[in-house]
Symmetry: C2
Subunit: 436 residues, 2 copies
């Protein structure tokens, strides 16, 4: 069969990785795909030295690549919103299939892009947009297609997980580890997207759409980062048998879909609690299959390239399929998406870890438990430490049973209003991730 | 679009599960597949009481179902070799697509079945044949298609993993836990397939074929079960920081493909070492993606049905594809399979755990270390326990560095020939499962 011609937009970390993997595994991939897959064109200012550019025509005109009639599949790896969006829409208009690793673009502009692709009968594949090399999109969209998905929870930002792992393993502070992560290249100079949860929210947006058959709704994700996590919280969590992970969590409830990214206490026995360093993992619960977990590298040149190349092979197979009978972009047929609303964070029900600093005098614990009781919050465990010489008051840590966030918000406000409470209450949500 | 008609052969545990899941999730599945998928016929002596048989015509003539022109997809869930093989070949001859969960049949007769399907332009899907509900076939065959797969290691028999988990958690003996597993329904009355590794060898045969593009070669799997594992081994392994798991392991080497099923010591920090009870997991290492892990229920009615239904949806999508451009049965094009040989077990290189009982007198340790040294075997760690009153001699446990199995076999023979060594040497292989 005729070789398939690939045009890559961007030869940076990921683009260079895709060119290298396609060249290195060319025979192995052709044995699978049944035809040669060749990068013929790339748009880049210049290729990095460690990229195999043999046989690739490199120009700095990305639109020329998108408009080149010899190219079958356009691979967008320049990132960002523009001109990535415009280039993809142009490729679609030209009847070309598209592969992208651009999570931000898909989370924000995916609905528009998929509608355009649907109309043109082409495919836009984006496995690399979520959890790097882990084939989680494929697992959710195809491997679990017999299930009603109940919930998914993922460690989907490697930088954040590296920081939390170091904090736990070495008792280090957030700022200290972040600085090291930046030095190691795990974190950007501006780490906001990673540590404030925005990157995870992009990925969770995509996971939720595919799990439940809802449109992409990044604007409705509740997003909280890890920058407020203190070394003390990591230690107290361990005391109660938990680890703190930055989770993306989405769950189907009768009232709506939960869509939330925040630090979370997880029982230390769970596999997800043992996913360390820069690794990612997604736990998916289907009504038939029960819990399944997918683990691997969530970022990095070659793991991301692995997902991009798998998408390219899929797209090559789709070249000869009926466009109306392909795997839909968001797992569900475009005309069968559900209008089920996203649940307001105040309506989410979880358990909580609370840490507060209280004046060291009689009656304070009674006051706190009374306020929690007034808000129908049951206490599962409590820890009061002895006062230390270098800080005012005594730390109190509380593990609550499950309660609606609205009630916990009200209770925290009431507690913080007490004169005996010194400073704000730290609140971290707890998920048991149990099957039932 | 017209509904797709399914004929199920067998309405037992899995067949009943498939009927139930297709009925319960009918709307959710149609939202994904773009058309209704309906079980119209089933072959069974009688359906179990808890199976939703609404609208299903049940007969006890499986060949009538296979020959019914109204049926688009045949789902074989009767198990065993015959008449399952004959029914599938008849369905293929009739131009029908086939879905099966029959691991033994695929491992033994898959080459013949896939050749027939290839000739007829139909698909035989078998996701449920390996690791139950975990979409591991899809991940390996499609999700990692850009990689040269280097190795895969899996806990792929839930019964064996349940037994080993109980032995570790509660210090119980093999026979004791096996009896309980039989009572709980986790183990068959004749547990040979599970505890002697045959079931795992069937699954590993399929994993290796798909990972490396080689024919199915069950006859070349080195297979060792868990029935010889002693509670003492579990405890000693823990002492050295390992857990004992029953692993299927396949690895590409320059000399050939390793294909082996046996108890294995794994460092306790690895995720795979923490997969407990009846759960399964497969760790796959690709050259681009690095390590990825897939975890879930490896058996059971609904998890297996989850995989069968996902296959049905895939097959429904394949109805309108070019047969020459589909995902090949064994991941690689039928005319591009590799003739790379399976490595003889004697040529496999691993580390070892050895336990032996020696006479309690001077010079015995020196004798053992001398024999190991003569066979170029380096010792990483050694433990000699104090003599106990209720057994002869003293137990000695040795952890070796990596060495070719042939040399270890010779060393063990030489050690066992010593008059000071009481009884046979217990030998369990060790895998670090590290990335490099």
């Amino acid at each position: 069969m005729k070789a398939v011609n690939i045009g890559i937009l961007g030869l940076g970390t990921v683009g260079g990785g895709v060119a290298n993997v396609l060249a290195r595994n060319r025979v192995e991939i052709a044995r699978r795909a049944g035809r040669d897959i060749v990068v013929t064109h790339a748009a880049a200012r210049e290729a990095a030295q460690d990229v195999n550019t043999d046989g690739i025509e490199i120009s700095n005109n990305a639109f020329a690549v998108v408009n080149d009639p010899s190219i079958d599949v356009v691979v967008e790896l320049i990132g960002g919103y523009e001109p990535a969006r415009e280039l993809i829409l142009q490729a679609i208009a030209n009847g070309k299939h598209v592969v992208t690793a651009n999570k931000a673009l898909i989370a924000i502009h995916g609905n528009e892009i998929f509608a355009a692709a649907q109309q043109q009968g082409v495919t836009v594949a984006f496995e690399a947009a979520v959890a790097g090399g882990i084939p989680i999109i494929k697992a959710l969209r195809e491997g679990l297609s017999g299930n009603t998905i109940e919930w998914a929870a993922g460690i989907i930002n490697g930088t954040g997980n590296f920081i939390l792992t170091e904090m736990r393993d070495k008792g280090r502070d957030f700022a200290d580890v972040l600085a090291e992560a930046q030095q190691l290249g795990y974190a950007e100079a501006d780490p906001t997207f990673d540590v404030e949860g925005i990157d995870a929210a992009h990925k969770l947006t995509i996971i939720a759409a595919i799990a439940f058959g809802i449109p992409l709704q990044f604007e409705h994700v509740y997003t909280e980062g890890i920058s407020a996590i203190d070394a003390a919280d990591v230690a107290y969590a361990a005391h109660f048998g938990y680890r703190i992970k930055h989770l993306g969590m989405t769950r189907r409830t009768d009232q709506g879909i939960e869509l939330r990214v925040h630090p979370t206490l997880i029982p230390e026995k769970r596999l997800l609690a043992n996913v360390d360093g820069v690794m990612n993992a997604v736990l998916v619960h289907g009504d038939a299959v029960g819990p399944t977990l997918y683990y691997g590298a969530g970022a990095g040149r070659e793991p991301t390239a692995s997902a991009v190349v798998a998408d390219i092979v899929d797209v090559v197979r789709a070249l000869t399929t009926d466009p109306g009978n392909r795997v839909p972009h968001l797992a569900f047929q475009a005309d069968a998406l559900s209008a089920i609303p996203i649940l307001d964070m105040a309506d989410v029900v979880t358990a909580y870890y609370l840490r507060l600093q209280a004046a060291d005098r009689p009656g304070v614990l009674a006051m706190i438990t009374q306020i929690l009781g007034q808000h129908e919050i049951s206490i599962e465990a409590m820890l009061q430490k002895a006062p230390s010489t270098h800080e005012a008051g005594v730390p109190i840590v509380i593990i609550s049973h499950r309660i609606r966030e609205r009630q916990m918000n009200a209770a925290i406000l009431a507690i913080e209003a007490q004169e005996a409470i010194l400073g704000p209450v730290t609140r971290i949500r707890i998920e048991s991730l149990a099957s039932d």
